[in-house]
C-alpha cells in the first residue's frame, strides 16, 4: 500500500468508526441447485410420464423439492389436462405440473427471469415429454442437464438411442447422457454391451455415457426389478451449468406451487 493510501485509511478511521470496524461477514448467497433431467426411450413411446415419474421417485428427497413438468401437445389423446394453477401430488416428495408446448416455448423465449430479488429454491425438475413432440420446440433440449435413455439390448434400440444422443448433443453440447437397459439384470452381458456402445458414442460424439443399470418393465410386481445406480443423477455442486432458461422454468414451477399452497410452501422454505 502506498504512503498516500495509508494516510487516507488513517484519515477515514479518524472521521468515522465505520472505517475502523472489522468488516462484518456478509452471508454468502448461494446459487440455487437447480437441475433439469429427462428420461426417454425410443422403445416406449407414450410412456414418458411413467419413466420420468419412476426415475424422479428414485432421486426425490424430502429436503429438496422434485418436480415433474409434463409438456403436452394440445391434441394429445387420452391425456387429461392438468390445470396449470394446481400442481398434482405424485407421492410424498414429488409434484407434477403441466403445460403445452407453445406455453413452454413462450415461457422460455419471452421470459426475462424474475426481478423480484427473491432467491429460488433448489430443485430437481424432470421434463416429461414425448421425443417426437420435440418437433414442436426442439430447444426444449437446451433446458436439460441430464438425459436418461432407457434402451433395449438390441440393434434397433441402440441405433435409435444413438440418434437421440446425436440430436441432444448437437442442440445442447453440455448435456450429459445416462443409459439404463430395459430387461432383467445381466451384469456381464450388460457390462459388455454398454462398454462397446459407450466406446462407440465416445468415438463418434466425444461424449461419455453414464451407466445406470437395469430396469425390467415386464416385472411391475417387483418394482420393475430395478437394479439401478441413480446416485450420479443427483445434483453435483462442482458441475453446475447455470442457464437463464433453466431458472425461468424453475421459477415457473415455484410460482405455481406458491399459488396452490402458499402455507405449505413457506413451511418447506423455512
Amino acid at each position: 500500500m502506498s504512503e498516500d493510501a495509508k494516510k487516507l485509511v488513517r484519515g477515514l478511521k479518524d472521521i468515522s468508526p465505520l472505517f475502523g470496524a472489522p468488516p462484518e461477514e456478509v452471508p454468502v448467497r448461494r446459487s440455487p441447485e437447480v437441475q433439469v433431467l429427462a428420461v426417454s426411450s425410443p422403445d416406449c413411446e407414450g410412456d414418458s410420464l411413467f419413466l420420468n415419474t419412476f426415475f424422479a421417485s428414485q432421486i426425490a428427497l424430502p429436503e429438496k423439492p422434485c418436480s415433474l413438468v409434463s409438456v403436452l401437445s394440445r391434441h394429445s389423446k387420452g391425456v387429461p389436462r392438468v390445470e396449470a394453477s394446481a400442481p398434482e401430488r405424485f407421492g410424498d416428495h414429488l409434484r407434477r405440473c403441466a403445460l403445452y408446448w407453445d406455453e413452454l416455448r413462450d415461457l422460455i423465449e419471452t421470459s426475462s427471469g424474475d426481478r423480484s430479488g427473491t432467491l429460488l429454491q433448489s430443485r430437481d425438475i424432470f421434463l416429461d415429454f414425448e421425443y417426437h413432440h420435440l418437433l414442436h420446440f426442439e430447444r426444449a433440449l437446451c433446458l436439460l442437464d441430464k438425459w436418461v435413455l432407457l434402451l433395449k439390448p438390441d440393434a434397433e434400440s441402440l441405433t435409435e438411442g444413438y440418434k437421440m444422443m446425436k440430436v441432444g448433443h448437437a442442440l445442447n453440447p453440455q448435456l450429459e447422457f445416462y443409459v439404463a437397459v430395459a430387461g432383467k439384470a445381466e451384469e456381464v452381458k450388460g457390462g459388455m454391451l454398454i462398454g462397446r456402445f459407450s466406446d462407440f458414442v465416445l468415438k463418434q460424439l466425444d461424449v461419455s455415457l453414464g451407466w445406470l443399470g437395469w430396469l425390467d418393465l415386464a416385472d411391475p410386481e417387483h418394482h420393475f426389478s430395478s437394479a439401478l445406480h441413480v446416485e450420479s443423477l443427483s445434483f453435483r455442486p462442482w458441475d453446475p451449468k447455470p442457464s437463464l432458461q433453466k431458472f425461468v422454468l424453475a421459477q415457473w414451477v415455484e410460482s405455481l406451487e406458491k399459488k396452490s399452497c402458499p402455507g405449505v410452501f413457506q413451511e418447506a422454505c423455512s
Binding site: 389423446k77 440430436v167 468415438k203
Partner: protein, 178 residues
C-alpha cells in the same frame, strides 16, 4: 376384393394415423378427404403428405417404393414432406433408399387397439427419417445424389454418417452373435 372387416380395420388405422399427424402438426389443418382414404391424406397447405401401407415394407421392392414416391412427388410442392406408414419397417430397404429424398420419414405402427374411450387407436412404434448421407464423388467420375438437408431442423442431425452406420452395424452383429 377387400372383405368388409378388413375395410373397417383399415379405416380405423387411417383415421387414427390422421389424428396422430394432426396432433404432431397442431398448426396445420389435416384434410379429411374421402377420395384418398384409406391410403393417402395431406394437410390443407399441401406441406404434409402421409401415405399408409397395410402390408410390411418387406412385401415391396425398393423399385416399387421409389415408383410410389415418385408418383406422389408429382403432386407435392417442392418443400413438402412425405410420411410413409407401414405395419412393419425394413431397415435394409430404408438404407437402400438413401438418396431418394431428404423429405421422407418412415413410421411403423401397431394396432389398432381399443382404448378406455372405446375408440380404436394405433401406436407409432418406430420412426426413421431417411436422409442421404453426404458422400464424395465415387471412383470413375460417378456422383451420388447430394441433397442439402435444411440446417435448422433438429431432425437433420439425427441422420447417420457412413461411419456411424458401419459402427452400429458392427455392434448389432456382435449382439446377434450373443
Amino acid at each position: 376384393m377387400i372383405a368388409a372387416p378388413e375395410r373397417v380395420f383399415r379405416q380405423e388405422i387411417f383415421l387414427s394415423i390422421r389424428s396422430s399427424i394432426q396432433e404432431l402438426h397442431a398448426d396445420k389443418v389435416i384434410l379429411e378427404d374421402v377420395n384418398g382414404a384409406p391410403f393417402l391424406f395431406k394437410s390443407k397447405d399441401a406441406q404434409i403428405w402421409a401415405r399408409i401401407f397395410y402390408r410390411s415394407m418387406r412385401d415391396y421392392s425398393v423399385e416399387e417404393l421409389q415408383e410410389e414416391i415418385r408418383k406422389l412427388w408429382v403432386l407435392m410442392p417442392n418443400d413438402a414432406v412425405l410420411y410413409l406408414f407401414y405395419p412393419e419397417l425394413d431397415r435394409q430397404q430404408i438404407l437402400k433408399m438413401n438418396g431418394v429424398s431428404d423429405r421422407l420419414s418412415f413410421f411403423e405402427y401397431a394396432g389398432p387397439c381399443a382404448t378406455a374411450s372405446e375408440k380404436a387407436e394405433i401406436r407409432i412404434c418406430k420412426w426413421m427419417p431417411s436422409w442421404v448421407q453426404k458422400t464424395d464423388p465415387l471412383p470413375g467420375g460417378e456422383t451420388r445424389l447430394r441433397i442439402a438437408v435444411p440446417s435448422d431442423s433438429f431432425l437433420t442431425v439425427s441422420c447417420l454418417t457412413r461411419e456411424e452406420i458401419a459402427g452400429l452395424s458392427e455392434l448389432s452383429l456382435d449382439l446377434s452373435r450373443g
